[in-house]
């Protein structure tokens, strides 16, 4: 066994050193875990691997800045007693032992520094060193440097040497130099800066002369171009005091060589060896002056000599005779004509004299004062602002006076503004007319005067009746009221219509009526004649109301406008008070998207992309670069739109041609198209429309076509007319445009959604009402055709539902539905939470969903029951229906449903929407079919 194992051992190759065999009875040492392995120095202290100066982790005295004795420096001695002993501290005094050791920053031991370590050094440096050697005090000292054995040579250098390479040579095959130099390779391009010729080649020029033909040379060593970027703020070419140059003789031979600046040094040595040639060693340069030990002090200020200074005062002219004066010569010799004086100063480099003089500045003399001008201003006594009645009185007086008296009789200061304006021939102000009463008829004026007098007599302090509200609000009959109003307002109304005050701007028709009304009022028409301006379709009561409204508006206008508007001019741009910021882009166009979803054409059709600006802080928190670093917008970019407008809730589908319009036009358009802040779902932003590709266009086109086919003009169109009548005039133009084309009109369901306040719940509840109504209907028709009923049963479930819905909408104000209340009680928005169980024990029960939670199955059941019930009723009056009629209603219902689904999503009843899908299920196919028809 042993022998065989021995032989085996001989065959084996062993790596490493074997462990020492264990002594008899010796316990196996436990290996020290890594974290407990420590290093101690000679004195048994824990060794630190770094000192404080080299970025060590254990600096100072146990990681403090103190010492063993505490913070007080132990070396402190009172300078009173021991003044002479003051020690000068050097950097070494602050260093740790580690810093002074072999690998510290100031090693005390003799070590091989980089200068000696390798001979593979910069050639530039080498050259500098050679030059320095030549000029050194002991020539050839540097030769000894080479003799001092380099202790470290890199492997590469060693290998190169063994291949015959010598320092200073280039690397590569040996070449003949002459031919190479004779014909430079034309194909080789030289990039970057060529080396100065004198440096590398100049020296070789001389050698070349006596070179034999058959001798080859090593290739030239390539001198790297110094590509150090300029990092400092000094001027170009500036070199500060170069420490290596300053300590020229000693540099490189010291251990403490903290300041060797790499590239600067080399470049200095290359270019500027003037100092070493002059044998000036040590610190030179103006900044340091001349050292005390320096013998030559003639060159203290290298560029400045005393001979440059004047020593004698004399009136000798300098070369140009200007004494440094650079101004034009005009001042020197006044005789020169002004026109052609020349600039004879020094022209700055880069500038040239102008060939033609600049145009002389024209001087305008001050206007001569009139002879009788007295520079004193006399102030006109200010009339104290009195009460309203005082004003009125004055106005009356003025107007009366104007009518009766000749203005020429007035003194200059007695003229009022209007008279002055007349005299001056100025245009009339936009504000109130000067004398309001002149528009009134003679009779009215008379009456007004009477009223005034009466009131003055009765109560001196009390203002005219327009201040007493009781008379204003007691409206006995329209005519009476009109009379009163007329009396009260009198001439103040006069200018109401003429100005741009439009209280009913939202309703152009009404505004027009108002203007006519005011105009006629001005002409002094009586209330009964004013009646004709009102809408004939209105009831008596409505007319009366509107009349009063007009009076009130006119009154309001007078009070604010007449007092203020003459003082103010109208803003050029409209105020933004009624505008609101809304997102620029909005998701929209649900119809097409829905169609796309049904056709499962997800992707472009269903996707909206928006620019969205995350908050800067959010980006920071998510560790993401801010995608829009320059913008201050957060969220979606916003634009300003009108706040109150019917069009906020309307979609005006754009004509298909407008899809190709330019973007800025779009934006303008969308600005006029008013949008709400939190808009309804079916809002269409124009930009969005643009993005729509052709398929969706086709779909919408097909849809509109289909609508036009199926839908004869229904009364809802009138609804549209009245609805849009309330839109501001800016929109009216667009509206008109839209009405030109049937396909452009907003879809019917929109109007239904707005004007017919019906939701699914409401309609379903009002169905019951309807049913009760139906029961009251004459039963004669019920008995008529029992046979035809059966035919209609198939589609009755859908059609009668629709029937009832439309009936419900016709019935006007629907009562609050009970089913809706139920829903509200649940208070759920969107998908509900799954049914909760009050305690943990309930899951063991085998019961179904508790009754407190309206489960879907329950609801559906309920619904079905109701529908069945309805069908029964419906059959009775089925025969009354005409086919066409049904179809139309069908359509209406269809749309209504859809809009409902859009609008009432916060009370979304999912089961309802599901059943909707059943009834509307055919529409995508249908649409597709029509689409195809359209295309062919």
């Amino acid at each position: 066994m042993a022998e065989s194992s021995d032989s085996e051992e001989e065959d084996l190759v062993s790596y490493g050193s074997a462990l020492q065999p264990l002594q008899e009875g010796e316990r196996i040492k436990k290996p020290v875990p890594l974290q407990e392995q420590t290093v101690k120095d000679a004195k048994g202290r824990y060794q630190r691997f770094h000192g404080a100066f080299t970025g060590g982790f254990s600096a100072g005295y146990f990681n403090t800045v103190g010492t063993k004795e505490g913070w007080t420096p132990s070396a402190f001695v009172s300078s009173r007693q021991k003044r002479a002993d003051r020690t000068v501290l050097g950097p070494e005094d602050f260093m740790d032992e580690e810093d002074l050791s072999e690998f510290g920053i100031a090693p005390k031991d003799i070590t091989t520094t980089d200068d000696f370590a390798s001979k593979a050094k910069d050639r530039i440096k080498e050259k500098a060193r050679q030059i320095a050697g030549v000029v050194a005090p002991i020539p050839g000292t540097t030769a000894f440097d080479d003799l001092i054995g380099p202790s470290k040579i890199t492997v590469g250098v060693e290998l190169l040497r063994k291949m015959g390479w010598k320092e200073g040579q280039g690397i590569g095959p040996r070449v003949k130099r002459k031919p190479c130099r004779q014909k430079p390779d034309p194909t080789v391009k030289i990039y970057g800066c060529a080396l100065p010729p004198g440096l590398s080649e100049g020296s070789e020029d001389e050698e070349d002369e006596y070179q034999p033909e058959n001798v080859t040379f090593a290739p030239k060593d390539v001198m790297p171009v110094d590509l150090t970027p300029k990092e400092n703020v000094h001027g170009l070419g500036y070199k500060g005091l170069d420490p290596s140059q300053a300590l020229f003789g000693a540099s490189g031979r010291e251990h403490l060589n903290l300041f060797t600046g790499g590239s600067e040094e080399t470049s200095n040595l290359l270019g500027d060896l003037r100092h070493s040639k002059g044998r000036k060693l040590g610190i030179t340069g103006q900044a340091f002056g001349v050292g005390a030990l320096e013998e030559e002090d003639d060159d203290i200020y290298a560029t400045d000599t005393l001979s440059k200074y004047d020593t004698v005062l004399k009136d000798e002219e300098p070369g140009d005779g200007l004494y440094g004066w650079t101004a034009p010569k005009q001042y020197k010799s006044k005789k020169r004509p002004e026109g052609d004086f020349k600039y004879i100063g020094k022209v700055l480099a880069g500038f040239s004299l102008a060939s033609k003089p600049s145009a002389p500045v024209k001087v305008y003399p001050a206007p001569s004062l009139p002879r009788n001008y007295r520079p004193v201003h006399r102030f006109r006594p200010v009339l104290p602002a009195g009460s309203e009645s005082c004003h009125l009185q004055k106005a009356l007086e003025e107007s009366a006076g104007k009518l009766e008296r000749d203005p020429a009789h007035h003194s200059r200061h007695a003229l009022n503004a209007a008279q002055r304006r007349e005299q001056l021939g100025e245009a009339e102000l936009k504000g109130p007319a000067p004398s309001v009463l002149e528009y009134l008829s003679e009779k009215d004026r008379e009456r007004l005067k009477q009223v005034k007098q009466a009131s003055e007599q009765q109560m001196k302090a009390k203002p005219v009746p327009q201040e007493s509200p009781s008379s204003r609000f007691q409206v006995a009959s329209p005519e009476d009221a009109a009379h009163k109003w007329q009396m009260l307002l009198g001439g103040q109304l006069a200018n109401a219509g003429s100005s741009d005050f439009k209280p009913f701007a939202k309703n152009p028709e009404k505004q027009k009526r108002y203007e006519n009304f005011v105009k006629s009022l001005k002409q002094g028409e009586r209330g009964e004649r004013l009646e004709r301006f009102f809408d004939q379709n209105m009831t008596e009561w409505e007319r009366g109301r509107e009349q009063e409204e007009f009076y009130r508006a006119a009154m309001f206008y007078r009070s604010s406008n007449s007092t203020l508007s003459s003082r103010f001019t109208r803003a050029k741009y409209e105020d933004d008070v009624d505008k609101v910021e809304v997102p620029r882009d909005q998701e929209n166009d649900i119809d097409d998207k829905e169609t796309a979803v049904k056709m499962k054409m997800f992707g472009k059709l269903t996707r909206d992309n928006f620019e969205w600006h995350p908050d800067k802080l959010l980006c920071k928190r998510f560790n993401v670069r801010d995608p829009y670093p320059d913008s201050s917008v957060v969220g979606l970019p916003k634009v300003k739109r009108d706040k109150y407008s019917v069009f906020n809730f309307l979609t005006v589908p754009e004509p298909t041609t407008s899809v190709t319009q330019a973007t800025n036009e779009k934006i303008q358009e969308s600005n006029s198209l008013n949008k709400p802040k939190k808009s309804s779902r079916w809002d269409v932003s124009d930009k969005e429309k643009e993005k729509k590709d052709s398929i969706s266009e086709f779909i919408s086109l097909a849809r509109s076509k289909a609508d036009a086919q199926q839908q004869p003009p229904v009364p809802a169109k009138e609804e549209c007319g009245t609805g849009t009548a309330e839109t501001p005039p800016s929109v009216v133009a667009e509206e008109d445009k839209d009405q030109e084309e049937e396909s452009r009109r907003p879809p019917m369901d929109l109007f239904k959604a707005i004007f017919v306040s019906s939701s699914d719940e409401k309609s379903s509840s009002s169905e019951e009402e309807e049913e009760s109504d139906e029961e009251q209907q004459p039963t004669t028709s019920e008995r008529q055709s029992e046979t035809t009923e059966q035919v209609d049963v198939a589609d009755s479930s859908s059609s009668n539902l629709q029937e009832s819905v439309t009936a419900a909408t016709d019935s006007g104000i629907p009562s609050l539905p009970t089913s809706k209340q139920e829903l509200d009680a649940a208070e759920e928005f969107g998908p509900k939470l799954p049914p909760a169980f009050s305690s943990g024990t309930t899951w063991q029960q085998q019961t179904e969903v508790p009754a407190t939670f309206p489960g879907p199955s329950r609801k559906e059941k309920h619904r079905k029951i109701r529908e069945r019930h309805k069908t029964k009723k419906e059959r009775k009056r089925k025969k009354e229906k005409k086919k066409k009629h049904k179809k139309q209603k069908n359509k209406g219902k269809h749309k209504n449903k859809k809009s409902e689904k859009d609008s009432s999503s916060d009370t979304t009843d999912s089961s309802d929407s599901l059943s909707d899908m059943d009834t509307t299920g055919l529409s995508p196919k249908e649409l597709l079919r029509r689409l195809k028809q359209l295309q062919y």
Binding site: E587, N609, V624, P831, P835
Partner: protein, 315 residues
Amino acid sequence: MAFPRPRPARPELPRQRVQSLQCGQGAVRAARFNADGNYCLTCGSDKTLKLWNPHKGTALRTYQGHGYEVLDAAGSFDNSQICSGGADKAVALWDVSTGQVVRKYRGHAGKVNCVQFNEEATVIVSGSIDSTVRCWDCRSRRPDPIQVLDEAKDGISSVKLSAHEILTGSVDGRVRRYDLRTGQLCSDYIGSPITSVCFSKDGQCVLAASLDSTLRLLDKDTGELLGEYKGHRSTTYRLDCVLNELDTHVGCASEDSHVYFWDLLEGSLALSLPVGQGVVQSLAFHPSLPCLLVATQGQVTLWREDTFQPEGDPD
């Protein structure tokens, strides 16, 4: 290495029930795994939040402080914090170890349906039925959110985060993806109210469950439909959808007390797992194991693959 890699094991679906946690906190509104899947959180309708080790079936801690039922919760990546949102319209940030509310963020106008931490747990993103998504700062003491995403027209039912994206599903039938890196908002119209959204593990796809009883897998970049999964019933309630740990299957809770799994590529129904009675309240899939957490009524059950042997078993 020279050896070919062993064939990847066929993805297994959780089929056997290994644990059942009787939470005792009313209806369990949500059950969520923590970041590594070793623990889970259950949100109760009795205003409490509980931390469990579902694999051992031990309750670790109860967090009390919400004013109303807790609807969603999420754990931070380092398990040091929990965020939760409830019907009291508040988002709470909890310290896991002390069990105290560190901060409460108030600002939502309605129930907070969903909460998520971002990757570094510096931001809580919460979605509410007030149709806003709010991003709350966990670092500063600022009371108001960093940003409010109010693009949705209806309540937010689900929010998910990736490294640089916020994915929201809303009842207005849209899935919105806010990309912070590109500064874009992509809004995909689904039509039916969205109940739950999630990213696939590779971050390329978006899964959206909606109330038309359909799950849709959309391409994240183009919005194209990659797959459609039907068969379950989801018409009324806010139910979760999940992707399994390898992205091979798609799962969804159903109102018929089953959990359905479909093959992601083929779209075929792979598994219909009867998990108990009543509607499946919440689902959570383990981040790395075929392990499913199902909340039904008042209990939470843990499901594992067939080959799984519970630790206690000698076999």
